[in-house]
């Protein structure tokens, strides 16, 4: 451990976890009044109910103001604390600590993947459930639906010609919007949500697709 005069620096501020699909990033703001100083940071974390603070070796004496603790906090049924302190030359701050972090309750549910296909009067929507964060791309995937069995999707459909929007709440991953207007641009965006405790959810981007021209009217010409 670095020997330094504790409390010689102001603490880092705004220390929180940013969590999306169980990717848990600790982030903070630099201590006030140290602009220009070459401040480094050291992070530790703690599993509620256990005994010791644990080091995160990749986040010892770092310059950046964030630290990925996804691996250390991957058991989402546990609750955690994290803390960070600032170090500059021989001085270091006291620890700045998070509140109790509960991934199962606090992670944001990311949007599903969306694939749209269309013909003259219908749009087929295929949704891919958001995936839990994984350490390596080749690791097996775990869908957020396997963690939250009551995961649902709110599908919003905007008809650019009539300037009307309507929504539908679905649980399955395929949806066909029939009897649409030919040659019309429709925009779709989808939000995943889990009934229960209020959770932040990220809406998907807007996906727009145009229904095909009506072939029958084309043949009459």
């Amino acid at each position: 451990a670095v020997l330094c005069i504790s409390g010689g620096l102001p603490k880092p501020t705004n220390i929180t976890f940013l969590s999306i699909n169980m990717r848990n990033i600790l982030q903070w703001s630099p201590p006030e009044g140290l602009q220009g100083a070459e401040v480094t940071y050291t992070v530790q974390y703690f599993i509620y109910g256990q005994k010791k603070w644990l080091n995160k070796s990749e986040c010892r004496n770092i310059n950046r103001t964030c630290c990925d603790l996804s691996v250390e906090t991957s058991d989402y049924e546990h609750q955690y604390y994290a803390k960070v302190r600032a170090i500059w030359e021989t001085n270091c701050s006291k620890w700045a600590e998070t509140g109790r972090f509960y991934p199962f309750l606090e992670t944001q549910i990311g949007p599903p993947g969306i694939a749209l296909t269309t013909d003259e009067k219908s749009i087929s929507i295929v949704l891919m459930a958001p995936e839990k964060w994984k350490r390596n791309p080749e690791d097996s995937s775990l869908s957020m639906q396997q963690i939250y069995s009551n995961l649902k999707y709110n599908v919003s459909v905007y008809n650019t010609k009539s300037n009307r929007t309507w929504s539908q709440c679905v649980t399955n991953h395929t949806l066909v919007l029939g009897w649409l207007e030919p040659d019309t641009l429709y925009c779709v965006h989808v939000v995943s949500f889990v009934p229960g405790p209020p959770r932040l959810a990220q809406p998907s981007e807007k996906h727009c697709v145009r229904t095909l021209k009506d072939q029958t009217s084309a043949l009459k010409v």
């Binding site: 703690f46 509620y48 005994k51 509140g99 109790r100 509960y102 229960g196 405790p197 209020p198």
Partner: protein, 155 residues
């Protein structure tokens, strides 16, 4: 409508959303008062792999403990109005749920009720090893763990 189904015990008339909002309003205040972070009362051994049938026995024991021991006298010490309001919501809804949990007392259910009692004793022993006020604060701060577990039985 939505309801709880703890094995044979069915509970209506409680909106889990209200309980979550009540807890969320005071989570940071109450959990910040809990300095004994090396102790977790509702450990995995208490709540993990509880069968549906066993859940009614276990929840009844836990809620009665919360009502009689954790919440009682807690308000005398809680000056913050946000805590008092959240406290009232949780206490009154726990009161409604507990009053509707009537697990069977028949002999063949003895092994299940006994398993639930052992789990509850794990929780109670951990609680009694702490100073009463610290234990009340800790148990109050762990209501999110209890609600998360209860949510699995919310239809």
């Amino acid at each position: 409508g939505q309801e709880f189904q703890f094995g044979p015990c069915r509970v209506e008339g409680v909106a889990l959303q209200e309980l979550w909002e009540a807890f969320r309003a005071m989570k940071d205040i109450v959990q910040a008062k809990d300095n004994i972070t090396s102790v977790r009362l509702l450990r995995k051994e208490v709540l993990q792999n509880v069968s549906d049938t066993e859940s009614c026995y276990l929840l009844r024991a836990l809620l009665k403990f919360y009502l009689n021991t954790v919440f009682k006298n807690y308000l005398d010490k809680a000056a913050d109005s946000r805590i008092r309001k959240s406290f009232s919501t949780l206490a009154n809804n726990f009161f409604v749920i507990a009053s509707k949990l009537q697990p069977s007392q028949e002999k063949e259910m003895f092994s299940i009720s006994e398993s639930a009692r052992r789990r509850f004793l794990l929780f109670q022993r951990a609680f009694k090893q702490l100073d009463i006020q610290a234990a009340q604060t800790k148990a109050f701060g762990e209501v999110d763990i209890l609600l998360t577990w209860m949510e699995r039985f919310y239809q």
